[in-house]
């Protein structure tokens, strides 16, 4: 369960996130939809304890964002898109192991988990190869394994498919669906309407740092009399821009 309470983040004069509140129930996928620079990444960075909120807080699995950041880090996993962020000179196994150790796991636990992940994600063939020469899809699989090595109950996805090819995007989508089936709580940030429509139970539309709408997909369609999420988004954001 994630409960976000009046979360704000200011960078000098810029208000990146402004008084954002929402809840994500256990086992649900919440889509954070917004344009580039809307405040999605800053919100996720605050929830992942990388940034300190200027005001407000969040309760993640009963831990307070401000009071218990270390406990929160043990509860979450995060997957980024874009550059992915792996150590090219380490093997896939070493990359995953490093994050297991930094999450307090012992070697035996890590080894067992890596074997399972390598099988599930079909990485057995290249698990001991250095990741420098991997394709983006292969790298994203390693990043997926890295993000769940410590079995977090909550997952954050920050535009995880950005820059990936169709096959790699499908792997990420399947992974999210699997996590949902396992009952994990997920916040998924994206600017792709299709992805959000396909994967999320509930959607929050963030614009210029403010949460302008929160609803289930069905609720949005009924409220705005539109079948297409893209149309709903454009009309909502356009309205706010006027």
């Amino acid at each position: 369960m994630i409960e976000i309470k009046k979360l704000s983040k200011h960078f000098k004069d810029v208000i990146a996130v402004d008084n954002v509140s929402f809840e994500v129930e256990e086992g649900k996928v919440f889509g954070l939809l917004g344009e580039n620079g809307a405040g999605k990444t800053t919100t996720l960075r605050m929830l992942a304890t990388m940034l300190k909120p200027t005001s407000g807080t969040a309760i993640i699995n009963e831990y307070d964002l401000i009071q218990d950041p270390v406990d929160i880090r043990g509860e979450i996993g995060i997957l980024f898109g874009g550059e992915i962020g792996l150590y090219d000179r380490l093997s896939a196994r070493e990359n995953i192991e490093y994050f297991g150790l930094l999450n307090g796991m012992d070697k035996a636990q890590i080894n067992m988990k890596i074997e399972k992940l390598a099988k599930d994600l079909e990485m057995e063939e290249y698990i001991d190869r250095k990741v420098g020469k991997f394709s983006k899809g292969m790298k994203q699989k390693v990043a997926i394994a890295r993000s769940i090595i410590h079995s977090p109950s909550i997952m954050f996805f920050d535009e995880p498919t950005s820059g990936l090819d169709v096959t790699a995007i499908r792997v990420v989508h399947e992974f999210i669906k699997e996590l949902r089936n396992e009952g994990k709580t997920i916040i998924f940030s994206s600017h792709s309407m299709n992805e959000v429509e396909k994967l999320c139970d509930e959607v929050g539309i963030i614009h210029k740092g403010k949460m302008v709408e929160i609803s289930s997909l069905e609720g949005l369609k009924v409220k705005y009399g539109e079948e297409n999420l893209e149309e709903i988004f454009v009309s909502l954001v356009g309205e706010k821009n006027e």
Partner: protein
């Protein structure tokens, strides 16, 4: 070192020494640079040495036959070259010096007058310059011979010109001039490498991590920022120490290639090595920290390289300033000046001066710099505006 710091340290060491760029700049370059200098230096110096052992080629311009010409002709270190255009020969360095003997040379000598001779040489040429000095010495010997003859003719013992017998003996236990050169170069080299040896690793572990976007996932692990930072810091220190050791190996190879390079036969005691290791480690600890802070501040690898390059130049200034300072007479206030104090201590122990006060003052200051720089680095690593500057 806590558990997470150990994990980060181990990973960073593996990652750093798998990087060809780091291996090249931290190990290969320090190992080959001194042998290379020694080799080039050896070629140059052996050429000059060869030149100084062979007879000096000169041309004599004289109106008539005289005793000086005969003296030079018979001297084993002089080779008189017959040439029609002496100046042209000098220009081409076929000869090194022209000895122009004035008119009535012998007559003037006999009458007790002062005949003139002119040495024409090329001061832009090292070979001509050396040749001039050698000819000057030979003519000075001839002058001494004339003076002695005149004194004898006057019934005076020529010994009267040397009322004091000077005996030269050096107090240096070993090494002599070699030790002097050694004490000039070694502190310079050790201090520079201890301070800058960690730069390639620091660039990669700070700015490199930001550029690859590996820092963000790292900050979401259970490990504290302090543990991550310390793991990286110790890795940069180790890289700096390895670079220093590599430069020492290069130094030893250089002295084998060319024994004249930096003091033949000079040795360091265990005590001296211990003190040098201590102050060099202090330098590595202080500079690794500030290099890591700068690297974290930079947005990317290139920016970090731009910011870190001046560190080497900043270090060169005090290193050059103290290069010619006598290891036995370093002013006390030098031990309060950063970098210069470290070079000072190394210079002292090389010439067997073990001044505990100087060592303690230097170590005290260095510890202060380490604490100060580490505090700055920790503060910077905690600052969101630094970590997420890109």
């Amino acid at each position: 070192m806590n558990k997470f710091t150990r994990v980060v340290f181990k990973k960073e060491i593996i990652d750093t020494f798998r990087d060809k760029k780091t291996i090249f700049s931290s190990i290969i370059i320090p190992i080959i640079i001194f042998p290379l200098i020694a080799f080039v230096f050896g070629i140059g110096s052996s050429d000059i040495e060869k030149e100084s052992k062979e007879p000096v080629q000169i041309a004599i311009l004289s109106e008539e036959k005289n005793e000086l010409e005969s003296f030079l002709l018979n001297h084993k270190d002089i080779n008189i070259v017959k040439t029609e255009d002496a100046e042209k020969a000098l220009d081409k360095l076929d000869i090194k010096v022209i000895v122009k003997i004035g008119e009535n040379f012998d007559e003037k000598i006999q009458q007790g007058e002062k005949p003139r001779i002119e040495l024409i040489y090329d001061d832009a040429s090292q070979k001509s310059e050396i040749g001039k000095s050698r000819v000057e010495q030979i003519i000075s010997g001839y002058t001494g011979y004339i003076v002695a003859k005149r004194l004898e003719n006057a019934g005076v013992n020529p010994q009267i010109l040397e009322p004091i017998d000077i005996k030269y003996s050096s107090v240096s236990k070993e090494g002599g001039t070699g030790l002097m050169i050694f004490s000039m170069m070694l502190p310079f080299m050790l201090t520079i490498w201890s301070a800058v040896g960690g730069i390639p690793a620091a660039t990669d572990l700070g700015a490199g991590e930001k550029e690859r976007q590996t820092l963000e996932p790292l900050l979401t692990t259970k490990s504290s920022r302090m543990s991550i930072l310390m793991g990286k810091y110790f890795a940069v220190v180790v890289a700096g120490v390895i670079a220093t050791i590599a430069s020492l190996i290069g130094f030893l190879i250089a002295t084998k290639i060319n024994p004249d390079f930096l003091g033949e036969g000079t040795t360091l005691s265990i005590k001296a090595i211990g003190i040098i290791t201590l102050v060099c480690l202090e330098m590595a600890l202080a500079f690794s920290s500030i290099e890591l802070a700068i690297s974290f501040y930079a947005r990317n690898f290139k920016e970090a390289q731009t910011y870190l390059s001046p560190v080497s130049i900043v270090l060169m200034v005090p290193a050059y300033l103290t290069m010619f300072v006598d290891g036995r007479a370093i002013p006390r206030h030098y031990f309060h000046i950063p970098i210069i104090n470290t070079i000072g201590v190394i210079k002292e122990v090389i010439v067997s001066v073990y001044d505990m006060k100087h060592i303690l003052i230097t170590t005290g200051w260095n510890l202060l710099y380490i604490a100060l720089f580490l505090t700055i680095t920790v503060k910077m690593f905690e600052k969101e505006t630094v970590i997420f500057r890109n």
